[in-house]
């Protein structure tokens, strides 16, 4: 039985639904055309993000998880406006209280917001231009936005280098002088140089070794407190997400399947996909080994240019019923800030992560 009266879609309002929201993403769609032939005729679309809705509170860390190809990176890039979304809203609250739809901005209009919303990249090697010094890399945003110049700029860069754990003397060095972990620190300094409000961390620790990863995670947490930052943390690593995030958004083939607090998503998932995902996480405790209870997903991730009917997850879902094949489930509010896009979210009792 589906409790339709409690169903409430995340409403597409033009003002933000709550004063403490820093960002609201409403019905965001990002379709990449598939072209063919000499004149690049469009023959279809890859729906990398398809009607994505969520919000980020000021000061929190929101995690975005999913398997590769689920569209999480696309959503992140839409928010920093590296991509121009096909449709939908990205509402952002300025420090002075005004609300702007970032998705509607064009050309130069985006410029003032670039300094507020910054990004940290995954690959510490390709994200720093090997032909520019650390100073040039970090100060570029100050320079092009005329935010600082001369000794003020230099002081700012030196201060940030120190804040991310590098010696200020390294300012004139080139990236090739640094290791992966150090480069990632430079990348973090670059993102912080404009005093941003929101930082999108796109797999920011995925390429790093265990011990360096821990160093960077600690650093990110510390900087969040000191600089009053809000993070959108994109990762496929569920233990990292668990560690750093307040709330978690789970995506599957361009759609959001579940949103909940960090704890709920792990111990009380309301979507079969989340359940399977949690079940696959290796637990760092050999005494917790319990092979029998693990849920293994069958088949492959659906093709975003040719998704299945109804709920995209139904071909791999062990609870799938006729309804799932026919109707796409909406994202339902289950109360307590828990949302799930499953027809049977309330009925199923799903297992959380194995915690011992």
């Amino acid at each position: 039985m589906v409790a339709t009266h409690t169903t409430q879609q995340v409403a597409p309002e033009l003002t933000m639904r709550s004063d403490d929201h820093l960002l609201e993403v409403n019905h965001l769609k990002m379709y990449f055309p598939i072209t063919q032939g000499l004149f690049s005729r469009v023959v279809g679309y890859t729906k990398a993000a398809d009607d994505v809705n969520f919000y980020i509170r000021k000061g929190e860390t929101l995690g975005l998880v999913g398997e590769s190809g689920c569209g999480k990176t696309t959503v992140g890039r839409c928010i920093v406006r590296a991509y121009e979304p096909t449709s939908g809203e990205i509402l952002y609250r300025d420090p002075d209280g005004g609300v702007t739809d970032l998705a509607a901005l064009e050309g130069k209009e985006i410029q003032p917001y670039r300094k507020d919303i910054r990004m940290i990249f995954q690959d510490p090697y390709s994200s720093l231009n090997p032909r520019m010094t650390v100073f040039q890399v970090i100060s570029e945003a100050l320079r092009v936005n005329n935010l600082a110049s001369g000794s003020e700029m230099r002081d700012r860069v030196e201060y940030l280098l120190q804040r991310v754990g590098l010696r200020p003397e390294y300012i004139q060095r080139y990236p090739h002088a640094f290791s992966g972990g150090e480069r990632q620190r430079i990348g973090i300094a670059r993102s912080l140089v404009t005093n941003p409000k929101l930082v999108v961390c796109d797999e920011a620790v995925s390429g790093l070794d265990v011990s360096i990863r821990a160093q960077i995670l600690n650093l990110l947490e510390e900087l969040q407190d000191d600089f009053d930052l809000t993070y959108l943390f994109i990762s496929h690593d569920l233990s990292v997400i668990r560690h750093i995030c307040d709330r978690v958004v789970v995506m599957y083939v361009g759609k959001i399947v579940e949103v909940a607090s960090g704890l709920d998503v792990y111990v009380d998932p309301k979507h079969p996909y989340t359940e399977a995902l949690m079940s696959s996480v290796p637990v760092s405790n050999p005494r917790a080994r319990d092979k029998g209870t693990r849920i293994l997903l069958e088949g492959e991730v659906a093709d975003p240019s040719n998704p299945p009917s109804g709920c995209y997850f139904h071909p791999r879902c062990r609870y799938a019923q006729q309804l799932c094949r026919e109707q796409a489930p909406p994202l339902k509010d289950l109360g307590n800030e828990h949302y799930s896009a499953c027809h049977f979210a309330e009925e199923l009792s799903l297992a959380g992560v194995r915690m011992v």
Partner: protein, 346 residues
Amino acid sequence: MADNRVLLEVRDLKVHFFTDEGVVKAVDGVDLTIESGKTLCLVGESGCGKSVACRAFLGIVQRPGRIVSGEILFHPDGNGATIDIAAMDPKGAEIRQIRGREISMIFQEPMTSLSPMYTVGNQIIENIVLHTRDSKEIARERTIQLLDQVGIPRPDRLVDEYPFRLSGGMRQRAMIAMALSCNPTMLIADEPTTALDVTTQAQIIDLILDLQHEYGMAVLFITHDLGVVAELADDVAVMYLGKVVERAPVDTIFNDPKHPYTQSLLRSIPKIAMRREELDPIKGMVPNPFRRPDGCTFHPRCPKAMEVCRHVVPSVTQLDPNHLVRCLLYESQEGRPDESAPAGRN
């Protein structure tokens, strides 16, 4: 069927790379034993030499790398015959009889580890025909059966498919099928799940465990993911800068680690049970391969470093029959055992 006898014994193995800039001691005195039917996980950060070590076990270290010294004793069957792989000509016929038949290997990158020019079947059949001298038809039958066993749907069709038409998970399954095609006594898996999604990773780990149960082979599993280690290891060897610094059963490693490096490694991983618990990472980073620290190579990063660690190279200390550690903290209790004594014999 696991009779838990020693299958592979590695003694003081050294593999060095002779580059223009200097010598990199990628593997610098590794001692290991692998028992039949068990899973040994080799853990360590990138650059610790774990991949090089496992290539040495097959004699496929590429130039400018070379096995400098040490023994790799392989006991293929119960009657006591012993082969020293380290002493064999890496291009000779003898060692090629071992590769792919007695010891087989799967790699990290399922996308590039299979040639896109030949069908999946072709590459598996090749292995079977090479080692069993069966006819192509029989090998093909066996291949289809193997593909079915590793959970590839419609194996009779996929046998003629090219690798690039399969997903990463499917390719890794095909690689496993290839590795198992001659019933090896040992499987070396070099980070086989690192490039895969967590859901696929779980599938592959389960598959390897199932197959091990069925075939009774020993598995040497190389990984940097301690979660994976906890899921499948019987024994664990922790490597740092070309040396095994601690070796113990998996439960001991996770619950009673002795080496400061193992301890720090465990404190560096976020636990899924807790949000924002304090991570206590190892300070600094892995040093430059050309400038290894003197004494214990871990001493500059070690929270428990003593003055003596700067100069004295620690040797192996046996804490209990199954627990070996290479740290000066424990040497005083035991006295200094003979450096040349083979480690891990039980």
